[in-house]
Point group: C2
Chain length 349, copies 2
């Protein structure tokens, strides 16, 4: 039952005022460096920990965390936002304010949202980055302003962000491959659809899938990955072309979240039930297909969980100065018919 060390205790021990201690603790410019050092050392040796509630109460200032997310697909990004809101709720008590900014789609309007957040003087920023070139310079500017940026869902390579949180692409692809190999008992023809192989996340899944198939199921035949470039049209057309030119195909691995046009093409040719389909992520149409048994399973990204982690890391950095690792990746969660109803269309963690 030790009583907590307060700022007063530190002040008393040094014979200074609480104001001085407070200033020392928060790098106030007008303060003798020697005094500051003495205070810091004493605070440290007494094991002083600030009372965040008191700090929040007295300082009018709140900690503003900006969260920039695409509006659509809403089914996915609503979960991201919900994850942030749930994780941040208890921290409102210590003065955290979450400011959501939405932009139309991944990569569309993200710079404007970013600028808007910087203008609003957020203390930290969580963003779902798209491919736009200029985002990297946005992040650079934020870093110059000492505003930490957390990348969520996907990453901006080589940008000066605090941390990026995403699913382990490699594990996602490898798991899909392992399942596929076992489902097909190590033989058959498999196709892979992807988005854009220049995107590291997409490439990671394809590469891991291919590597795993070749290593563990060398008898299987693997077609070169189809790239959809996020175009529904392209996805649909290319899938049709693929299955028409390979009537003996046994399986398809849809390695990105927007596989709906692929599913439609497969349905069009009446292939459900005949071939084995593994997919990525979860959305209403896919849930239906899993329920019906048309799609064997899907590698779920757990958007809400990713968002929770992102918020938590940023909070801990801002409030406690805890530096996160450069990257945080989380395990994909296999969803099949058996565990589908754990997710009532939502990510419950």
């Amino acid at each position: 039952m030790e009583k907590r060390v307060t700022l007063r205790d530190v002040a008393k021990r040094l014979g200074v005022s609480t104001g001085t201690v407070s200033r020392a603790l928060q790098d106030h410019p007008a303060l003798n460096p020697i005094t500051k050092a003495r205070v810091l050392q004493m605070a440290n040796s007494l094991g002083y920990r600030p009372n965040l509630a008191a700090r929040f109460l007295s300082s009018r200032r709140r900690l503003v965390i900006g969260v920039n997310t695409p509006r659509d697909p809403a089914f996915f990004y609503d979960q991201v936002r919900k994850g942030i809101d749930q994780e941040s709720a208890p921290f409102q008590m210590t003065g955290v304010e979450v400011q959501h900014r939405m932009f139309p789609r991944v990569g569309v309007g993200e710079e404007e949202a970013f600028e808007s957040a910087l203008d609003a003087k957020v203390d930290g920023l969580i963003v779902v980055p798209g491919g736009s070139r200029s985002l990297k310079s946005c992040i650079r500017r934020a870093s110059q302003m000492k505003i930490p940026v957390v990348c969520l869902i996907s990453d901006v390579t080589a940008a000066r962000k605090l941390v990026s949180v995403s699913v382990d692409a490699s594990a996602s692809g490898a798991l899909a491959a392992e399942l596929m190999g076992r489902f097909l008992v190590g033989k058959g023809q498999v196709a892979v659809t992807s988005g854009d192989l220049t995107v590291s996340d997409h490439r990671g899944k394809c590469t891991a899938f291919e590597r795993t198939i070749r290593a563990q199921f060398p008898a299987m035949e693997l077609f070169p990955p189809i790239e959809n470039h996020d175009s529904e049209c392209e996805a649909y057309e290319k899938t049709l072309r693929l299955i028409d030119s390979h009537p003996d195909i046994d399986a398809v691995y849809i390695s990105t979240g927007n596989g709906l046009p692929v599913l439609q093409a497969l349905e069009e040719r009446n292939l459900f039930g005949k071939i084995t389909v593994l997919s990525t992520d979860l959305y209403p149409e896919l849930i239906e297909k899993i329920q019906e048994g048309a799609v064997a399973g899907s590698m779920y990204q757990r958007p809400a969980t990713q968002a929770r982690i992102a918020f938590r890391l940023l909070y801990e950095f801002l409030y406690e100065g805890a530096c996160p690792p450069a990257r945080v990746t989380l395990a994909p969660l296999l969803v099949m018919r058996g565990n589908l109803n754990c997710f009532h269309g939502e990510d419950p963690r």
Copy 2:
């Protein structure tokens, strides 16, 4: 930028003191019901929300949360404790104190730990309950003392707990069945090992496994489940007897976390690589077997995540009066070779 409604605002509007409003808000016994009603209504209509920081600051009460867990198997319960510690860390700053109490094993010494926690006047209690009869009466006494109890990992049915957090046993069994059925292409002989079918968690997995196999893979042959009753000896012996009497067996589903003796028996008879094995949970020896390809996969309970959720629900109940649902179940996470290295022996969420 609307200013928040404070307790003072409510008091002023009614011409009463802040003390009265405060008392009304927290069900203080000595207060005229009429006054209380007036206050509550006014607070409501003004949209008053308490400032939790101020509340915590003025009531110098610390919130003590007791966490009672088995010491062994340490590999599993260390993760539970770590999950609690990580989730609670940011809340220590706002007055939450976590008190860990350990007892030797599930069901051994749990009452003593429970009593000790009650004696220490914890404000809330998270317990990993075992089968002991008397635990239910412990929980009843806690509920009389208005101390909320959260059951973690497994449940105590019909006890007056606040909430129980565990994995979705049904989903775990069904997922295993679905994988098994697909791996064996819908035919073959499958055995199931379990702990004790009177334990609802164990029964849930077996039942779901059986139901799913029968529904989706009717051509498969399913042996009656083997019960080990948590005895290594029994598990080992019974497994040997099983495989010796059924030399054509194709697969084994180990539906509980302590499957090591079963694995040893399978190894003894040199069956790895010949039969398909699905397991439950994750421990060093099992990780090794998955790595080698001897075990196809395992349904991971995510102990640390469960613990995080348990803490969070209790915290929100104590601090904000948020009532959780009666049960929280989470989806099992399939671990195979492909995503094994996302878990460096730990539950990263």
